[in-house]
């Protein structure tokens, strides 16, 4: 049997998550392959439809990395996103899709290692769950 290579889509904001990402780069920490990164100005801009479209187009896992709840540049973007993620997880479950395929993480700006850790966490989970379709 062919080895399952999960397709993972990661949205990340231009602020905390982005700086964590660039630090991880400087530390020469590499993200697992097959992760497609999408940079957004603020996680509050990510709507349910953006997340759904990723799944519709074949992503096995979708996750968002943003700021800590009290340090969003735009006041409460990450909180809005977290509400949407909770709503969509419930929807996914009703649709017969494991809600663990969708996650959101709050990172500290300086934590490059965490940026890589969450990616690995999602990859491990993807392998446990298997292909979405």
């Amino acid at each position: 049997m062919q080895e399952f290579k999960p397709k993972i889509v990661a949205f990340y904001c231009s602020n905390c998550a982005s700086s964590a990402a660039s630090i991880s780069n400087k530390l020469n920490l590499f993200l697992p392959e097959n992760i497609k990164l999408i940079n957004v100005p603020c996680t509050g801009r990510i709507e349910i439809l953006h997340l759904l479209k990723a799944f519709e187009n074949g992503a096995d896992m979708v996750y968002v990395v943003g700021c800590q709840e009290d340090s969003c540049q735009y006041i409460n973007g990450i909180l809005k996103l977290k509400n949407r993620v909770a709503y969509l997880k419930n929807m996914l479950e009703q649709m017969g899709i494991e809600p663990q395929r969708l996650e959101v993480f709050s990172l500290y700006a300086g934590k490059g290692q965490d940026f890589v850790n969450v990616a690995n966490e999602m990859l491990t989970k993807a392998k446990e769950l298997g292909p979405i379709y």
Binding site: I48, L49, L52, M91, Q94, G96, I97, Y133
Partner: protein, 222 residues
């Protein structure tokens, strides 16, 4: 506006189980404003249906269209050359929309994608409250501009009842006692004496109790 809320996706998927060509129809009226049936929600539902069907190994075609309104025949007519490509329609309009569509296109199965809740407005972003029960004979000017029909749990015309408790209704602490508000507003306007006038029982003939309603305006009829 007419306020509606999305039906659980599970319920919609059960309705359309067995159909593989589905058209999701939105409405640019009230349901767009209350974020439940506009173009965006049409896209979300269509995507969710595609994902859920694909998960079940089914090949589906899900179309998306959002009409100006679903409560006027001329806009329903815009579906004329599209409906034959589908086996089922999910309407995201209030209960009027799917009925207008199924009256116009009796050959196709039509399903409601939302639950129509009430006539009201947004009191803050994401929160809606009922304001009118469509009684057909508006009387809010007697009550400080507030409707005791829609907003008092007992639709009292001569309130409050004995259950009014620190501004809350005895039915639930979540419900404001509208009669408390009416009395306070009438006091503030120096019109409290007007509330001493006994309001006779309302005739419900103009409300739903008089049977399904229809309105004809001769000056508009062609």
């Amino acid at each position: 506006m007419i306020v509606a809320e999305a039906k659980p996706i599970k319920e919609i998927l059960e309705m359309i189980d067995g159909f593989n060509k589905i058209l999701v129809v939105g409405c640019k009226g009230c349901v767009t404003v209350c974020n439940v049936g506009g173009a965006k929600e049409v896209a979300i539902l269509a995507s969710a249906i595609r994902i859920a069907k694909k998960k079940k190994g089914k090949d589906v075609e899900v179309g998306e269209i959002t009409l100006e309104r679903q409560c006027d025949p001329e806009y329903i007519e815009e579906l004329r050359n599209i409906v034959q490509n589908y086996e089922a329609i999910v309407s995201l309009a209030c209960g009027v929309g799917p009925q207008f569509i199924s009256e116009r296109y009796p050959e196709i199965r039509v399903f409601p994608g939302v639950n129509t809740r009430f006539m009201g407005g947004a009191i803050e972003h994401g929160v809606w409250a009922e304001r009118c029960a469509g009684c057909g004979q508006c009387v809010i000017h007697y009550f400080g501009g507030m409707c005791p029909i829609a907003r008092c749990s007992k639709s009292l015309m001569n309130g409050p009842c004995g259950g009014s408790n620190h501004g809350k209704c005895e039915v639930s602490p979540e419900i404001d006692c509208i009669w408390d508000k009416i009395v306070r507003k009438m006091m503030a306007q120096g019109r409290l004496d007007e509330l001493l006038k006994i309001r006779p029982p309302k005739s419900w003939l103009t409300a739903r109790d008089g049977g399904p309603r229809k309105m004809v305006r001769e000056e508009l009829v062609k």
